[in-house]
Symmetry: D2
Subunit: 424 residues, 4 copies
């Protein structure tokens, strides 16, 4: 953490403690009691807006966003430290206007949006008046290979006409969500990485139909939701195109890195919470004359969880630092490393915490199964583990090929056929 | 499979194919559409009763139950083969009157019930007119140590007065469930394994309050349900005691083994289904120019799943055989081995199938997350994995101590300190 | 075990106990003291020959070999039970003339040898007068793909002229080893599986040069040895060809199955020994006031080892049975399953036993590191784990494709897109 | 790495490249050819002394040792970066006089030695004229619990009389090794952590008998060796006691931390080497028409190895930093974390590299099996993994107990029993 940003970190911590923690219980209780799961109680929004105003007053609003003119802003490393704090209360990010997927959408609009796009969508997003979504994954194709994206957009009479289906559109269930960025195939005849584009589509546009929420291990995550949406002859003006036709993948580079740092730091926060719950339960229950924590392999389980949590934290900080120093493109291997390691390992730690809890651990009486479901989805989000492993390995193999020194050392060993002095 | 029971197996297979499979789609569709999740549509019951009648007509009704007088019946090994078939359609067991926990309850009533208890509860259970539940686990104690069971029952004026809470009472949400067997502590001053008793409590008895369903990874499993029940001054006649005061653990021996065989065989069926879904998905989607099944480690994942499925099946059949040959008590190590190995490994296989599916794999579009939730609960049911591992290890260590031959062989090796001819 | 062969099993057990166990200590002590590690002390051979004669007298000699005329012999299943006994004393097999690779070589000669070949090599092998080797793996190629075998044999003037290198030729260090079967490429222009042939080469033939033993984790396994041999213009008569040119792979089918059953049964015997050593050590040492066996995860480690040992044993017996019932070809998937599972898992169990032993566990004072080295080699022998996993998975995928029933069931599930009743 | 020490790091790198790498091949070749494995060829020592002199000339000699008067020296963090370089050539440390166990012994003598002890032993050690050993582990007791150390030393007539056995005394096979520090039990009636003392014993003292080398997976590691030594009435002057009677454990605190940093950094270097060998082999062999690196799970294996290598490196650097900032005592949890994680994981990576190599990977043609053996011993050295896991978990549980904040957060969750709105 740079010295210069420590005051910001402390202000965020203070804000969460004073303005967010105190409203959380009432907020969630009201939410649980809503008859229509896809709506908010007016008092919920009142609580939220109150905390948002306090953040604005304290100068904490939109700190995630680099200065529009100078490009200056928080380093990823400093942001990582702040993200760790944000991860401790699920409401915190929203009160500071830095929730996913809004942050990514705002960054994209800031960098490649036209003045009109900024006026219409970025302004209310920055003001915290609306929410947004990002529609990428499609139900009918292996989205692990982004080139597979096939939902069609055709230019007709100055309008893009969209047809197809997207699913797992997170946040699209929120009644405040007003705008989507949709990844579509506009140019099937271009070279593979130039076929897709990103287009702005208002949520309430004719032809946009929310078919329902995707469940995750039985959770619908209402009212946020991971929605399944059908687009039928959705016609938007040509000017809703972001940056330009065929720029879909280029735009994605903008949003990938920082969001993953943020996600991974929150995942680590979840692992720490699971570890605390494991210890609490292990200390408070007795079986066969001993505290559960002292039975069998439980102490080793705690130790291994602790070691991995610290390892993951260091790796995420390193990735953040790499982004600051090397830029998003060069740092992508570090980002893939945390993306491939963190959610899988956090799932394991949560699962072990469940096991220590007995049947309560997988029930609604414990947050663990919800935490597990959430972390399990991250093993697909922004590319499944397998894709990241492949990216990392390909880079490692290439680096090996490019390094004469490494090759020399390795080859020296592989040719070492001693005669071993057999039979005289 | 014994030659003598092959006709029975074939009749069961035929029954499922002809009488159960054809009604399944309509049955589940009606269930999904019920407004009150804890009820049945009349047509659902009509379909069920139709299939039950066909099973009665075909002489397949209650085949699980040994002859009351001679004790003769299906061997566990033969039952295991039949259970594997029952596992393929979740409705099948019910149409043959051999669902859990009814089978265990009926066995217990058959063996230790009084004539009055049999008349009142066993008769309608055997006739398939009512369902039943078994209340053992308590929310406030580590139930891994069954001696911890503490819900109190006190004898007052010829009545047992029950006070306390139980949870995860499977099947207690079903409107047809009329009777519970409840494990309670009646004799706190007796020696450890003589303090608990089992008492019959009608579901609709005054003082019995269903507080709600326990969720499993967000699933409530309605209308079956895993219910949380509070008992407040529940007074039942002294004659509702099963077998006798302090016999709680002795009764449990009756029900443990065969049910676990049945459960494990069904778990293996779930693993096979997960493997099929994994292959189906892997063959039907393409990424990076290849079928998903041919990418990365997926073929090895399939192979390892297949190997473990066959290993588990053989181990379960061996355990069933051990029960037949050695009796429940001597075979308990084999039963613990399958209980400790099967659900954990099946969870892993289902998880791998999910990963091959992408985000669809954890959604309501795939049965995998529900299958996972169900198998995950089995790692606690009838004792968590850890307790079974401890039982197995303790037995193995004791067997070692008792075997002079094994000790001699091991000691011979541990004393082998060669001089190694150092320095001349 | 069939009833008919139980007397044979009992006779083998009696033979080991009475004739092999008593000579083992002296035999190994003399071997350790040999100055030339690649030789035998005369007394060693005397002891061996004595035990061999007793086996002949008891009618136990060559029981592994099917009747030359009727093809009748031990079933693989019965052989598996006997192999488990043979695995308990490393000298046992030799005293019964059923050591690897002699058994495979004798089977091959018996089935495809010419009368002259039988007279010259099979006869002394059956008599236990000489030993033999099988040369397949080559140092310069990935032998996991057997089609890679490239050591050349060219027919010149009625002689095969062999040039190239082979390594890991087990048993070729034994001074009694007189004959090798060598897999060579004779027909580079034939279709892929018709290019290789097997040729008989006497050990003492001009041009055959033993370059030295291959070490395994530092062990040279003298005087048996896994030798590295160079062939320089080795000329053998055309009649040394086995069966016919291009039949190399066909011949291999003969030897693969039963040997793997035997190997895997012995591996399981090693796992049992490791488990016994783990318990013995765990009971005999104390740390932090407790027996080591009672510390941390050690009891669970014992339980998991026990469960896997029993699972592996059942799987190997199943594979043996499959060979008996289905034939070697159809049973090859079962054989691949044991080959892929057993050595890897046995390595893990031995490693855990080492860890319980502390530093003694990896030293020469314990047999564990030698056992580990031996099992670790089996993860390559007759094809590395990865090749077997691929074979299994390919077969499973094909079986899925061929089964309409499995496909129907899987597809039904993958199309289940519920509408989930969102927003009315 | 601090700016101030970067020149030192660069000088070390230059020294290794210019003075150590060029002599390594000749040095090892001569060593392999020595008839007496426990000796050096004169030319070997000449080569070594030449490189040592160059290090002295360059001011790199003894940089590991803090200033005797000011206590100032390299931070552990800076040392960690240097250790990573030292790990790349097994001769490097010796040419800079910073080999284990000499460094630890010198540190101990520097801090607690008497002027006479320093004159006699520290001086020649600092000058690189002799080598030393540290005798702690005993064959007859579980050394995981250091309080078990039981080799006796009794004070008689101004002399300590030592009787007992020690094993795994690394470096005691080297003919240049002249002095041992021996941990003994001097005060059996003191409180548990005050019973042991450390005493200086010259290697050539009457009564000291080297029984032979302990092998590690068949390797004797000559001429360094891990020796088994018997002490029979070894009488040394009272003044050979280090620091004072009963100070055995206190002295050990001095040596533990930095050595482990050094060891773990070298282990990571081994993992990197294994990864390079894995890639080299994977690129240079072909099977089934593909480079091995592209088959099955191999790319994912490479990725996972890479991720873990980076995670381990960061964790070791963090532990070094913790030692600098918090001191050895407070940092001990971080040191236990690297000790418990690194060697186990490095063993796995080396094993995977072996598997990619085929049978060559476990033979003397590859360094992998020797590397594996070495890393496997580290899972016992300075306490087995299990002891470190226990230390970490106990500390984590205690930290939890001490933190009201963590407890409050955890308890809040564990009491969250929602009513779930069942049945109206």
């Amino acid at each position: 953490m740079s010295e210069g940003n420590k005051p910001l970190l402390n202000a965020v911590i203070k804000h969460i403690r004073e303005n967010v923690d105190p409203i959380s219980e009432e907020y969630h209780r009201l939410g649980d009691a809503q008859e229509d799961r896809w709506s908010y109680h007016p008092r919920q929004l009142e609580l939220l807006e109150g905390a948002k105003q306090k953040a604005r007053d304290a100068g904490l609003w939109n700190f995630f966003l680099p200065n529009a003119e100078t490009g200056e802003g928080l380093s990823n490393l400093d942001y990582a430290y702040i993200a760790a704090e944000l991860g401790k209360n699920p409401l915190a990010s929203q009160t500071l206007n830095c929730s996913a997927p809004d942050t990514g959408n705002m960054e994209v609009l800031e960098r490649v949006g036209t003045p009109e796009q900024k006026e219409k969508w970025l302004k209310p997003l920055l003001a915290g008046e609306i929410r947004s979504a990002f529609a990428m994954t499609e139900p009918d194709r292996a989205s692990s290979d982004a080139k597979n994206i096939a939902m069609s957009a055709v230019l007709e009479n100055g309008e893009w006409v969209l047809n197809g289906e997207k699913y797992y559109i997170s946040g699209a269930g929120d009644p405040r969500c007003k705008i989507m960025i949709v990844m579509v195939k506009t140019s099937p005849d271009a070279e593979p990485f130039r076929q897709q584009s990103q287009i702005l589509v208002p949520m309430d546009h004719p032809g946009v139909e929310i078919l329902g929420p995707m469940h995750v291990f039985g959770h619908d995550d209402a009212p946020h939701g991971h929605m399944h949406i059908k687009f039928t002859n959705v016609r938007v003006p040509e000017t809703n195109m972001l940056w330009g036709e065929g720029k879909g993948f280029e735009i994605s580079q903008v949003r990938l890195g920082p969001g993953r740092i943020h996600h991974c730091m929150r995942s680590i926060g979840q692992a720490e919470k699971a570890l605390d719950l494991m210890i609490e339960r292990g200390l408070s229950r007795v079986a066969f004359g001993k505290k559960i924590v002292d039975l069998g392999k439980n102490m080793e389980t705690i130790s291994r969880a602790k070691i991995e949590i610290e390892s993951m934290r260091l790796l995420v900080l390193k990735a953040a630092k790499a982004m600051d120093v090397l830029g998003n493109k060069e740092a992508r291997i570090w980002v893939s490393m945390i993306k491939a390691k963190v959610p899988e390992q956090v799932c394991d730690i949560i699962d072990q915490a469940m096991q220590v809890h007995g049947a309560t651990g997988i029930s609604q009486w414990s947050p663990l199964s919800g935490m597990y479901a959430q972390q399990r989805t991250l093993r697909y989000a922004d590319g499944p583990d397998e894709v990241h492993h492949h990216v990392i390995a390909r880079h490692e193999v290439q680096t090996y090929k490019d390094s004469n020194e490494r090759q020399d050392a390795a080859k020296q060993h592989t040719e070492n056929r001693g005669s071993a002095g057999f039979m005289g």
